[in-house]
C-alpha cells in the first residue's frame, strides 16, 4: 500500500482492528461450548473453530502492533470495535448455529475482498484465513441444511434469522474515521462493502430458501441502531465476555501458558 497516504493507512488499521475484535469476541464465545455441545463432534467442531477465529484475531492484531495481548485484552471497552452480533453469548445451540452460519458466510466474503489487498501483509492473512473458512462454512451449512429439513429445525432456527440479520449487517460497516472510498481507491479491499453485503445476503437467502423462507433485510445503510459497536459503544454482553477473557491476566499479569 502507498505509505505516502497516511490517512488511508490509518483507516485501514481502524478497519483491521474492527475485524480483529469481531474474531476475538466470536472466538471467545464459541470456546464456551467445550464439553457442553449437543454431541461430542460438535464440542470439537465449535472449539476448533474458536481456536481458528482466535488465531485469525492474533494474526490481524499482529498487523497493528507487536504486543498482541495488549491490543486484544488491554483496551478500554469503548476502544473495541466489534460488531454486536459477535458479543452475543448464544448459549442456546440453535442461536450459536445461526450466528455461526451468518458470521462465517460473511467472513468468507470479507476475506475474499481483502485477499488481493494493496496492504500486502493483510492480503496474506486474508488468503491464509480464507483457506480455513471452508471447513467452518461447510460445518455451519451442513448442519443448517439438515436441520431445516425438519419441522422442529425450521420452527426453532428460522425465527433466529430475523432476530440476528439486522445485527449481522454491522459486519459490513466500518468504524468512524475509515473512508470507504479511500480504502477502495487505494486497493485495500477490492469491492465495496455494499457489494460484499449483497453477496452475503444472497448466500444467506439461498441457504434458507429451501425452507420456504425469506429473511427480512434492513435497507442498506439503515442499520445505524446496530452500528454502534463499530463506533465504540459496547453491547450489554461485552463486559462479562471481556472479564472472562482477562480473568487469568487480571490475577497474574505475568502468567505464561
Amino acid at each position: 500500500m502507498t505509505d505516502s497516504v497516511p490517512e488511508v493507512m490509518e483507516g485501514a488499521r481502524e478497519m483491521v482492528l474492527a475485524l480483529a475484535d469481531d474474531e476475538l469476541c466470536i472466538g471467545q464465545n464459541l470456546a464456551w461450548w467445550i464439553a457442553v455441545g449437543p454431541f461430542l463432534e460438535e464440542d470439537l467442531a465449535l472449539t476448533s473453530i474458536s481456536q481458528d477465529e482466535l488465531g485469525h484475531a492474533r494474526a490481524l492484531y499482529g498487523l497493528l502492533g507487536d504486543d498482541v495481548d495488549a491490543l486484544a485484552y488491554g483496551r478500554q471497552a469503548h476502544e473495541y470495535r466489534s460488531a454486536h452480533l459477535t458479543e452475543l453469548p448464544c448459549r442456546d445451540w440453535g442461536e450459536t448455529l445461526v450466528r455461526h452460519f451468518l458470521y462465517d458466510t460473511a467472513e468468507t466474503v470479507r476475506w475474499a475482498a481483502l485477499a488481493d489487498s494493496s496492504w500486502e501483509a493483510l492480503g496474506a492473512v486474508a488468503r491464509r484465513a480464507l483457506a480455513e473458512e471452508r471447513s467452518h462454512l461447510r460445518h455451519a451449512s451442513g448442519l443448517l441444511s439438515r436441520l431445516l429439513r425438519t419441522e422442529a429445525g425450521r420452527s426453532q432456527l428460522l425465527p433466529l434469522f430475523d432476530q440476528f440479520t439486522p445485527l449481522a449487517c454491522e459486519l459490513f460497516e466500518l468504524p468512524p474515521g475509515c473512508s470507504h472510498e479511500a480504502l477502495l481507491a487505494d486497493g485495500v479491499m477490492d469491492r465495496s462493502l455494499s457489494d460484499q453485503r449483497a453477496e452475503w445476503q444472497s448466500a444467506v437467502d439461498d441457504a434458507v430458501a429451501s425452507a420456504g423462507y425469506q429473511p427480512q433485510w434492513p435497507a442498506d445503510g439503515a442499520t445505524t441502531a446496530s452500528a454502534s459497536g463499530r463506533a465504540g459503544q459496547r453491547s450489554a454482553h461485552f463486559a462479562a465476555l471481556h472479564a472472562e477473557m482477562v480473568e487469568v491476566l487480571s490475577l497474574d499479569p505475568t502468567a505464561r501458558w
Partner: protein
C-alpha cells in the same frame, strides 16, 4: 554498523533448529513436518532470521515452537554476536504435502495418525485400507480431522482437514459454493 553474519553461524543455526521437535509429536522435527521454512542472515544488521510456517493460524502450540526454536538458535550461536529473529510467515501456506515421507511413515507407525495430502490419499495406519470415511473436519487439534476405517472399524485421526489443500488455489467463487458443495457428514 551493519555486519554480516558468518555463513558458518547461519549453517549452525540451521542445523540446530532443524532438530527442534514438535510439541505434539516429540520424535518428529519441525523440519520434517514442513513447519521450518528457512534460516537466513538478515539484510540489515547481524541477525539470523528463522521463518516458520504455522500449520493453522490458531494452533496453540505456536508459542511453544517459537520458544524452542529461539532456544535452539541461541545455543547454536553461543559466543557469536548475532541476534535471533523468529517469525511466523503467512506465505507460503502450510499443507500436509509439506510433511516428509519419512515422517508420514513414522506418524502412521507410532501414533496411528494418517496424513492426507494432494499427492496421496490417506490410508488407514492400522490396517492399510485406503478407503477411509470422513467423519468430521474437527479433531483433537486444529490440524487434524477424524475419519473412520470401515475395514478395521477404528476411528482414525488424519492430519489435514479434508479440503484445506484444495483451498490453496483460486479463491472460491462464492460462500454458497464453498459451503453448499458438500454437506457435513458429521451427523450421518
Amino acid at each position: 554498523m551493519s555486519r554480516a553474519v558468518p555463513a558458518g553461524v547461519v549453517a549452525a543455526v540451521r542445523r540446530s533448529v532443524s532438530q527442534v521437535c514438535d510439541p505434539e509429536y516429540p520424535e518428529v522435527t519441525i523440519a520434517e513436518l514442513g513447519i521450518l521454512e528457512g534460516v537466513s542472515s538478515s539484510d540489515c544488521g547481524s541477525t539470523v532470521r528463522i521463518e516458520l510456517v504455522p500449520t493453522m493460524l490458531g494452533c496453540p502450540a505456536l508459542d511453544v515452537i517459537a520458544r524452542d526454536v529461539t532456544d535452539a538458535a541461541r545455543r547454536a550461536c553461543a559466543g557469536a554476536d548475532v541476534s535471533i529473529e523468529v517469525t511466523f510467515v503467512d506465505d507460503p501456506v502450510w499443507t500436509p504435502d509439506r510433511i516428509a515421507p519419512s515422517a508420514v511413515g513414522f506418524l502412521a507407525r507410532e501414533y496411528s495418525v494418517a496424513v492426507r495430502s494432494r499427492s496421496a490419499a490417506a490410508s488407514c495406519p492400522i490396517c492399510g485400507n485406503d478407503a477411509l470415511e470422513h467423519r468430521s473436519d474437527f479433531g483433537p487439534t486444529p490440524c487434524r480431522s477424524v475419519e473412520w476405517c470401515p475395514s478395521c472399524r477404528n476411528p482414525i485421526e488424519v492430519v489435514g482437514r479434508v479440503d484445506l489443500p484444495a483451498a490453496m488455489g483460486a479463491a472460491p467463487a462464492s460462500p454458497a459454493a464453498m459451503g453448499a458443495a458438500q454437506a457435513s457428514p458429521a451427523l450421518a
